[in-house]
């Protein structure tokens, strides 16, 4: 099977609000697919429709080649944005319960539990109750609950929330391991660095509509090389009033500038004003593209065409 998820013109309304508006998407099997979008843009509703927790008002959802609910319920693992664990169960009992609800036999689930507990460094905590775990440990248990049944598709909504860098690394390795085993991973995240580094393809939804869909390179190419990273002695003041500057993102020691026109001309103008210590012409980061789309102002244009929706 080449396609893990196929969405065709799906729409979901809640009263007068259209949460998801005619979204189409194809997620290839075996990749890590990033889902990004600001809060309230329709991301979770889309994920819930893929999980068949919600049904679309219009359009069609096909998961692992099945447009019914069986595949979504038995072959898809789901880690929701907000954690759902039975606090009074032990780790092992909870994982066994969640794993068996996916239709797996007890022996298979127990074997998988052993492997995952070891991989996540929680083997000594197997028989402790969930309410005895730290937040980071509980987060790892939630992740294990999503993958313990060895799903073909794992939908992970903000899996790194609440994890320290060490545990985040453990989880990242676990996700890459899933990919190596052939599991398709849908990764919903607000962390653009994670999306840039981990995802093979990225989908962005904004106000219920698809606004980006492609590889990072395709998306960046569509936005052109209009971004300059510059470090000067005068800082942001040096950029004031220069022609062709569309926006300035000030990081204090460095400024990220979006321009229209020739970068060389900007360099000349800056050099005449102050001492330039760093000047790089680059493509916009995913973070920058996200902000351009999600925070439209007078200086922010609509998404350009190509490499996206």
């Amino acid at each position: 099977m080449d396609t893990a998820i196929r969405l065709r013109e799906i729409t979901k309304r809640f009263g007068d609000v259209t949460a998801v508006d005619a979204v189409s998407l194809e997620v290839p099997a075996g990749c890590i697919y990033g889902f990004i979008g600001p809060n309230g843009s329709g991301k979770t509703t889309t994920l819930r429709m893929i999980m068949r927790i919600l049904l679309p008002d219009h359009g069609r959802v096909e998961v692992l080649g099945d447009d019914g609910t069986a595949a979504a319920r038995d072959r898809v693992g789901y880690l929701p944005e907000e954690r759902g664990l039975y606090k009074k169960m032990t780790v092992r009992r909870l994982l066994r319960y969640y794993g068996r609800l996916k239709g797996r036999r007890a022996a298979e689930v127990d074997r998988s539990i052993g492997e995952w507990l070891k991989a996540m460094g929680l083997a000594d905590w197997a028989d402790r109750r969930i309410d005895a775990l730290s937040k980071g440990m509980a987060q790892k248990v939630q992740f294990m609950a999503a993958v313990v049944a060895e799903p073909d598709l794992a939908i992970l909504d903000e899996p790194f929330t609440g994890l320290d860098p060490v545990n985040a690394d453990v989880l990242k390795d676990a996700m890459l391991d899933l990919k190596r085993r052939g599991t398709t991973v849908v990764l919903s995240t607000h962390d653009m660095n994670v999306a840039e580094r981990m995802c093979d393809r990225i989908f962005m939804i904004f106000r219920g509509r698809k606004v980006l869909d492609g590889t990072l390179a395709e998306i960046q190419a569509a936005y052109g090389a209009d971004t300059i990273r510059v470090r000067t002695e005068a800082g942001r003041q040096a950029l004031a009033g220069l022609p062709g500057i569309e926006s300035v993102n000030d990081y204090g020691n460095m400024q990220e500038v979006r321009i229209q026109g020739d970068p060389q001309r900007l360099l000349q103008q800056l050099s005449s004003r102050t001492s330039v210590t760093y000047f790089e012409v680059t493509r916009p980061s995913l973070q920058d593209i996200f902000v351009r789309i999600a925070r439209p102002g007078p200086e922010h244009a609509s998404p350009p065409t190509g490499g996206r929706a």
Partner: protein, 433 residues
């Protein structure tokens, strides 16, 4: 529908519920505590209240004090040797030349100063045997809620007066008691012929078999269902607020989830009711009523218990799914409270005339059926088979409808956060695709 997933949810629900300390305490310690309290109350009444109750007797007939004193001595001897309690000490009052008014004021003063507990004033003509006798005597006390002493004096004086009147009329009291012995109706069922054509002796009707057992069963069912099913509302609400339900709905349908929870709740209710039924059985055996709890009775009890759990459990589950906190849930619980009043308010009427139109109608109303049809099944005359069958069909259909509707409310309600839902919202969610 995936029955193995339903079973997994049911098993988990059951284990989570019965392994809690609250369940074990509620199940086992509650009867022990209640029994202990009743025992202590009984003992306390007998043991603590051992104070002598001294009361003055103004006997204007001049013939009652001595026998009353003897009766009190007998009562006190019995109390001291066995059952305990207070002793009664009558003291006579010599009227002398004082007026009745003076005596009353003086004795009232002695009662107020706690020298006496009460005083009794017996009229002159109380023993008259020509019908002109006074029908009462006065008992005066500042302890109106203490009834033990006045009731005892009343009984003792009545017996003494009756014996004295018979004696004065020249009638032997023993002969009189034989002549006025009441004639009792022995209630029996109808005669029937057995397989051999022989007339079968009709069974004696007794209150325990005819009414106490059916009513006790009905109330046991009511208490069990009302103890276990509201838990569903709490657990569903907790799962909703801690987002567990979202994970669950990723693995099974809302209907399967709801049904699993209901089956689990049925198990919990069965354990609860079974324990009490077992206790009742043990008591029945020790009291010589070992035959009253039959297999037929247990089977019908289990059938109606499961139906009642499905009906009320789905309702409570749906409320839990629709609300965001317990306060919201209170307002939606009103219909359950109204429905549960029906069997409580009508069971006596149904018991008096189990085959009346009212009894038939109310026992076929599905939410009341599990309680009232169970009651009717063990009353005489028993309901005809078609009524039992119809009640099962109607209640099962209603229960399935409730579970289906609750599943629909689950799907929408479990993902809704923030404000609680109204009945209008619930209706909209049920109609939603």
């Amino acid at each position: 529908m995936n029955l193995s997933k339903v079973g997994l949810v049911a098993s988990s629900e059951f284990q989570l519920a019965v392994r809690t300390k609250a369940f074990v305490i509620g199940l086992l310690l509650m009867p022990v505590l209640m029994g202990g309290i009743m025992f202590l109350q009984r003992r306390a009444m007998d043991q603590v209240d051992t104070e002598a109750r001294v009361f003055a007797v103004v006997d204007r007939s001049g013939k009652l004090f001595a026998p009353l004193e003897r009766a009190a001595a007998e009562y006190n001897a019995a109390a001291a040797s066995g059952k305990g309690g207070p002793s009664f000490v009558p003291v006579t009052v010599d009227a002398g030349s004082r007026s009745a008014e003076q005596i009353r004021v003086e004795l009232s003063g002695r009662v107020m100063s706690r020298e006496l507990f009460a005083f009794v004033e017996i009229g002159e003509s109380i023993l008259a045997s020509d019908g002109s006798a006074e029908g009462s005597f006065g008992y005066y006390s500042n302890h109106p809620t203490y009834t033990l002493l006045p009731r005892w004096i009343e009984g003792a004086v009545t017996r003494i007066v009756q014996a004295e009147r018979f004696r004065m009329a020249g009638v032997d009291p023993v002969v009189v008691s034989k002549l006025v012995r009441p004639v009792k109706a022995v209630e029996r069922g109808l005669f029937v012929r057995d397989e051999t054509g022989k007339l079968k002796q009709a069974d004696t009707v007794d209150a325990i078999r005819t009414l106490a057992v059916p009513a006790g069963l009905m109330f046991l069912l009511l208490v069990s269902v009302m103890t276990a099913t509201p838990q569903l509302m709490t657990t569903v609400l907790e799962e909703k607020m801690s987002r567990i339900s979202e994970v669950m709905l990723g693995s099974l349908s809302p209907f399967e989830f709801m049904l699993g929870k209901l089956v689990g709740a049925s198990g919990v209710t069965l354990v609860f009711a079974g324990t009490y039924l077992g206790g009742a059985m043990a008591v029945a055996v020790t009291q010589g009523f070992g035959d009253i709890i039959t297999a037929r009775l247990v089977i019908w009890f289990v059938v109606f218990l499961c139906l009642a759990v499905l009906l009320f459990g789905s309702f409570y589950g749906a409320i839990g799914a629709a609300c965001s906190d317990l306060k919201d849930a209170q307002s939606l619980m009103t219909p359950v409270v109204i429905i549960i009043i029906i069997p409580i308010a009508t069971w006596m009427t149904v018991a008096r005339a189990p085959d009346s139109l009212f009894a038939v109608a109310v026992s076929l109303f599905p939410p009341a059926t599990p309680f009232l049809m169970l009651l009717r099944l063990f009353l005489h005359p028993a309901p005809p088979a078609w009524q039992v069958g119809l009640s099962l069909v109607l209640t099962s259909a209603t229960a399935l409808g409730f579970v289906w509707a609750a599943g629909k409310i689950f799907r929408t309600g479990l993902l809704m956060q923030g404000k609680g839902a109204s009945f209008r919202d619930l209706a909209k969610w049920i109609r939603a695709r």
